[in-house]
């Protein structure tokens, strides 16, 4: 038996076993338990962040209506989820598109900056080149501690952007950070469950940006 942290869930683990049916039944039960946990966390996350969602959506709507644009960024799975969010704003299946981009979309820029000035600045430097007062920055992270996201927030603050952070655990360095206007924290210790709730938070933010502001029309 290996020393996996999940072993207590699977007391019958045995390399010599020959009965796939019991494994499959156990996997299905595990999937349902994890999905139930994910659903409960998504509900509680939306409830705990309801006021902040309202405030952030109102400010985003105000900025989009005034010509503001959205930049999203993150690392790894949070990078892809932030790209999905940028895509939802820029090319929504339903509703009005607004200008939004993921700062990880261009491999040439990301690798040039990573190679020449360091990975900590791959997002901050892009904001220096592109962002202006009135724009919006959304960084997604599970730890809330990624140096390149914190550097980008500092740059965004200097440039008059509205800054939104998505974090997990206790919020990490995103929480109580003067460079982060709205910090959404998913109170979980699981990277996977945090990302699932963050995806829904982002979706809810998009819905509310479009439902709350007549200038943008209903989503």
């Amino acid at each position: 038996m290996s020393d996996e942290p999940t072993n207590f869930l699977y007391p019958f683990i045995d390399a010599q076993e020959d009965d796939a049916a019991s494994l499959l039944a156990d996997l299905a039960a595990s999937a349902q338990a994890k999905a139930t946990e994910s659903l409960a966390l998504r509900h509680s996350t939306l409830q705990l962040n309801a006021d902040l969602l309202n405030r952030a959506a109102a400010e985003m709507a105000r900025r989009f209506a005034a010509g503001g644009r959205l930049f999203t960024f993150g690392n790894g799975g949070s990078c892809t989820d932030s790209t999905t969010l940028a895509g939802l704003f820029a090319r929504p299946p339903i509703g009005k598109p607004v200008p939004a981009w993921s700062l990880t979309a261009d491999q040439a820029i990301v690798t040039a900056l990573g190679n020449d000035v360091g990975f900590e600045l791959v997002f901050a430097r892009q904001l220096i080149a592109r962002a202006k007062a009135g724009d919006i920055a959304i960084a997604m992270s599970t730890s809330g501690n990624s140096p390149n996201l914190l550097a980008a927030f500092a740059e965004a603050r200097q440039r008059g952007l509205y800054t939104i952070g998505f974090a997990g655990y206790d919020g990490g360095a995103f929480a109580n950070n003067p460079n982060v206007d709205a910090c959404f924290v998913v109170r979980s210790q699981s990277v996977h469950r945090i990302q699932e709730s963050q995806a829904l938070l982002g979706y809810q933010l998009w819905l509310m940006v479009h439902s709350g502001d007549q200038a943008l029309g209903a989503a």
């Binding site: 038996m1 290996s2 996996e4 942290p5 999940t6 699977y10 045995d14 390399a15 010599q16 076993e17 020959d18 796939a20 494994l23 499959l24 039944a25 156990d26 996997l27 299905a28 039960a29 595990s30 999937a31 349902q32 994890k34 999905a35 139930t36 994910s38 659903l39 998504r42 509900h43 939306l46 309801a50 969602l53 790894g76 799975g77 990078c79 892809t80 989820d81 790209t83 999905t84 969010l85 895509g87 939802l88 929504p92 299946p93 339903i94 599970t142 990277v191 996977h192 990302q195 699932e196 709730s197 963050q198 995806a199 829904l200 979706y203 809810q204 998009w206 819905l207 509310m208 439902s211």
Partner: protein, 240 residues
């Protein structure tokens, strides 16, 4: 607060069983040396997220698995040149996506096992080896995190299976024709037939196949191969 689509659904018992079966297949294929290729033509970040999930696990100490996202144009050509027999193709797409439909139809000829994740109207039965589906027709579902949950669970359950190495042994031979010891196998024509023969790609590799029964055939056409002979052509799908 606005009622949000797609968050109140739990995981039905049927879907949980589908996830379990898909993860068990993934573990068996990975144990046998497979690479997983992910595609998501309308929601490319999902393909990238699947790859990074398996290559660089969030839980320290879990093994890195070969997973690659294929993005950009000409996905059918990209998958064709990438997959080896025994590999896995996982797609995130609607049932109507023409490129994914073409990849799914051809995958048996390439020897690839297929997993199709999507929402809305379901693909026809048999289009993929494993179908993980949210029936919610809302086109915004791919942005709500539901698919993220799917592939997170796939990863988590696959790694549980690795703790059961006794169950990951290679499977037995497939059923064959009792008279000639061969079976009807899907093949993809590699290049146009000449002199009643053509090179055809099947799950066993590229073989020279007699095509006189169905000539002429051209590159990319799907045929049924039995005992060294192409016995029928599969009809093309509209728009492919």
């Amino acid at each position: 607060m606005t009622t949000v689509t797609a968050i109140d659904r739990g995981l039905s018992a049927e879907l949980a069983e589908d996830l379990a079966a898909a993860a068990f297949t993934l573990a068996k294929r990975f144990a046998a040396g497979a690479t997983m290729w992910s595609i998501a033509p309308s929601w490319e970040p999902h393909a990238l997220h699947i790859a990074v999930e398996f290559v660089h696990p969030v839980i320290m100490g879990k093994r890195a698995l070969p997973a690659v996202a294929l993005t950009g144009p000409a996905l059918v050509d990209q998958v064709r040149i990438s997959v080896q027999p025994g590999d896995i193709v996982v797609a995130v797409a609607s049932a109507h996506n023409a490129q994914v439909r073409s990849v799914m139809r051809r995958s048996p000829a390439w020897g690839a096992t297929t997993i199709w994740i999507g929402g809305g109207e379901r693909p026809e039965s048999g289009m993929a080896d494993h179908v993980l589906w949210l029936d919610d027709p809302d086109p915004r579902v791919p942005a709500t995190g539901g698919f993220v949950l799917f592939y997170h669970l796939l990863w988590e359950l696959t790694h549980v299976c690795f703790e059961h190495s006794g169950l990951l042994k290679p499977e037995g031979a497939e059923p064959v024709c009792v008279t000639c010891s061969d079976e009807g196998r899907l093949g993809e024509v590699v290049s146009a037939s000449t002199g009643g023969q053509a090179p055809v790609r099947t799950a066993r590799g590229v073989e020279d196949v007699v095509t006189t029964l169905i000539d002429p055939v051209g590159a990319g056409e799907l045929v049924l191969v039995h005992a060294g002979t192409a016995i029928s052509k599969l009809e093309e799908e509209e728009g492919l």
